[in-house]
């Protein structure tokens, strides 16, 4: 059998842009338009009545309802401020790791849990992934978030569910003061905020005075290494631009990693041995103690170790940027570095 004249397939004439490109181009353009419009219009909404605008640490303009009673706190550093400002009762939720993987105790030490009267019913899972449902179940009026939460999650909460999120990410120790004022504004407790600020400033003042006194005397500042973790390769410490580094400076010490190139460098055993810091401070809490660190290279050869100047300090004091770091951590570190001082 022989088929009659075959019908030619409708090929595109040469030079035509394939249909697919056109369709895809339209989709992408449409998407860009939608996003652009959304961005444009979002920036223009003004706050509804009954709420005020505050500016958070990232420069975001947030509409917060007046005098909120239900707040969710995502970050122990913020919880610290809330407690000191007498706002514990307004906190209905805190950040936790996944319930089956540690839950509350992953983020908060048992002391903190006891002190702040936290329970796992307040948990909002922030890691390994953020759980929106748990947040929504607490019906928060405002969310206070630190750096532990991913930006995507923050934006999702604020824009998808229309819950105001205030980001508290102080860049320096002094920024903590600004945060207390911000919290005072959000929760309408200006006097508590002012009092806390005064205490903080006083502590900073004393530290500064002490330091100028030392410098006037010509006393050299002792060299210090603060480490929060060690392994067979070396010592993990704080580089320039971190709170740990700032703390050392304010405590009138000289960090041996002050000129590192990254924020959280690992110094090798040789580097630390060469620098041979006068004081060695290691982080404790969450199950860590000296034996957790002594496996580091040259640990026992460091003069600080041999002379009993290797001291433990609660890691929270140099990792969490909160009033406790200033009010307790700073004096404690100063005392370690200058045993005869009184800051």
């Amino acid at each position: 059998m022989h088929l009659s004249t075959p019908t030619p397939a409708p090929d595109l004439p040469r030079g035509t842009v394939p249909l697919t490109w056109v369709v895809v181009g339209v989709i992408v353009a449409a998407g860009v338009l939608v996003v652009g419009a959304a961005v444009y219009f979002e920036g223009r909404t003004s706050c509804p009545s009954g709420s005020d605008t505050v500016t958070d640490d990232l420069g975001r303009q947030v509409c917060v309802p007046a005098n909120p009673q239900r707040a969710v706190v995502l970050g122990p550093s913020i919880m610290d401020s809330m407690f000191r400002l007498g706002l514990r009762d307004r906190v209905v939720g805190v950040d936790c790791y996944a319930a089956d993987l540690g839950g509350l105790s992953s983020d908060y030490s048992s002391d903190q849990v006891a002190l702040w009267n936290l329970s796992s019913s307040m948990c909002v899972q922030t890691g390994p992934t953020f759980d929106v449902e748990q947040l929504l179940a607490l019906s928060p009026q405002v969310v206070l978030a630190a750096t532990i939460v991913s930006v995507a999650a923050v934006e999702e909460i604020s824009q998808t569910y229309h819950i105001p999120v205030v980001m508290l990410q102080p860049a320096t120790l002094e920024g903590i003061i600004a945060d207390e004022e911000l919290l005072g504004e959000v929760f309408d407790v200006p006097s508590a905020a002012a009092a806390l600020v005064t205490t903080l400033e006083a502590t900073f003042g004393r530290a500064a005075e002490f330091q100028s006194g030392l410098l006037a005397n010509g006393t050299a500042l002792p060299t210090v290494l603060i480490t929060y973790s060690t392994d067979s390769n070396g010592y993990w410490t704080f580089g320039p631009g971190t709170f740990g580094n700032s703390l050392i400076s304010l405590a009138s010490g000289m960090s041996i990693s002050a000129n590192a190139s990254t924020f959280y460098p690992e110094l090798s055993g040789e580097q630390v041995l060469a620098a041979n810091p006068e004081y060695l401070v290691y982080g404790t809490g969450f199950g860590l103690n000296e034996s957790s660190y002594s496996g580091a290279p040259f640990w026992s050869q460091l003069s600080a170790t041999q002379d009993g100047r290797a001291v433990g300090m609660d890691s929270n004091y140099f990792t969490e940027p909160d009033p406790t770091m200033v009010l307790i951590g700073l004096p404690q570190l100063t005392a370690i570095l200058h045993p005869d001082s009184s800051v």
């Binding site: 397939a9 394939p18 697919t20 490109w21 369709v23 895809v24 989709i27 992408v28 449409a30 998407g31 860009v32 939608v34 996003v35 959304a38 961005v39 979002e42 920036g43 990232l58 420069g59 975001r60 303009q61 239900r70 209905v92 996944a98 319930a99 089956d100 993987l101 899972q125 390994p128 992934t129 953020f130 759980d131 929106v132 449902e133 748990q134 929504l136 179940a137 607490l138 019906s139 750096t147 532990i148 991913s150 930006v151 995507a152 999650a153 923050v154 934006e155 999702e156 604020s158 824009q159 998808t160 569910y161 990254t262 924020f263 959280y264």
Partner: protein, 367 residues
């Protein structure tokens, strides 16, 4: 001798069985979509969930007070509705869209590269997308609008990587081997750039981990809609290339002699697959295994005809991702695991099962 007319009828019969299979899969998916909202990290009585669903779908006509008898949060029934409708259902919709995109993309790439181990991320799209989100976070671009900028940059990053591959594909050096190598090289390069970026921004590291593990809870309905639209168009277009993909399996020369413009078709397929994958992962991050396994499941059920494998992989992918979400919630109540972990966790043994059942994957054929 058998009468000639018997043969076409018999063959037609076997082909006709397969659309039923596809329909069956769709029904299973629909059922899954309906019952998935019952599962979540916050425990809500199933009856309440169903009442809320009907209430919302009917615009308030049915079940005027869906929360009657249930324990409501401080914000009242509205809070519960928000959890079920805005959080859970949008997450489920996203799972369906992303699963479908990954499934059909994976099937397409397996066909183009004639390799049963190809997956949607073969061309380095994942690295591009990750780099896109990292850039937004590290350089703090548009803080406050990042809900939209993050997916946008991820999409651009992913598509950009795909575009480089496509340029290579259109050139004289567009052989399958070249494409693969280009993808691998690009992937490595972008990963290196990413690592460098993250050295200087630990906050970015958190974001990248979040992205790399994959997560479904990300969107409002608008973004769901965008993802759905893009994936629907790209996926539908992909599904029309089933015949070309069948012919490509015979080898590029034979396919060309039969009338398939191999290079053009390859470029179009890779473009569409890249768009679908990029749109999906822009919102959810990297979710592995779905794109790899789904086409194989369809092949086991319905054979190797790409006219069925592609739409089938979309449906199976959607179901797989949804099932992964549901299983994760059922197995670990109260905890939300990153979906990417769970698909790998469940996917790997499943894939091994497929491997051993089939006596190796040297061909992608059924016996």
């Amino acid at each position: 001798m058998r009468a000639p007319t018997d043969v076409p009828r018999r063959v037609a019969e076997s082909a006709a069985r397969h659309p039923w299979t596809l329909g069956l899969l769709l029904v299973i998916l629909a059922v899954g979509v309906f019952f998935s909202p019952l599962l979540g990290t916050v425990s809500i009585a199933p009856a309440t969930v169903l009442r809320i669903l009907f209430h919302q779908v009917s615009g308030g006509a049915l079940f005027a007070d869906p929360c009657a008898g249930a324990s409501v949060p401080a914000s009242g029934c509205a809070g519960l509705i928000e959890i079920v409708w805005d959080a859970r259902l949008s997450e489920i919709m996203l799972a369906v869209v992303v699963g479908a995109a990954l499934g059909i993309s994976g099937g397409t790439l397996q066909g183009v590269f004639r390799n049963p181990l190809a997956d949607p991320f073969l061309l380095g799209i994942s690295s591009g997308g990750t780099l896109g989100t990292a850039v937004v976070v590290v350089f703090r671009i548009g803080v406050g609008e990042q809900n939209l900028l993050l997916p946008l940059f991820a999409f651009v990053g992913a598509i950009g990587t795909g575009a480089v591959i496509l340029v290579a594909a259109r050139s004289r050096f567009g052989s399958v081997e070249t494409l693969l190598l280009t993808g691998v090289a690009l992937s490595s390069f972008l990963s290196a750039v990413l690592s460098l970026l993250l050295l200087y921004s630990p906050a970015g590291s958190l974001q990248v981990d979040f992205w790399l593990l994959g997560n479904l809870g990300a969107l409002d309905w608008t973004q769901d809609g965008i993802a759905f639209g893009v994936v629907l168009v790209a996926g539908t277009l992909l599904a029309t290339y089933g015949r070309e993909l069948n012919l490509l399996q015979l080898g590029p020369d034979v396919a060309q002699s039969l009338g398939v413009d191999t290079r053009k078709v390859r470029v179009r397929l890779l473009l569409l697959a890249s768009v679908a994958t990029a749109a999906a992962v822009a919102f959810t991050g990297i979710i592995g295994f779905v794109g790899l396994v789904s086409p194989h499941v369809v092949r086991r059920i319905a054979g190797n005809d790409y006219r069925l494998v592609l739409p089938g992989a979309a449906v199976v992918g959607a179901g797989f991702l949804l099932a992964a979400r549901d299983l994760s919630l059922a197995a670990f109540p109260g905890t939300l695991l990153p979906i990417g972990i769970f698909t790998s966790f469940a996917g790997a043994p499943f894939f091994a099962y497929l491997l051993f059942r089939r006596r190796g994957l040297s061909t992608m054929g059924t016996t």
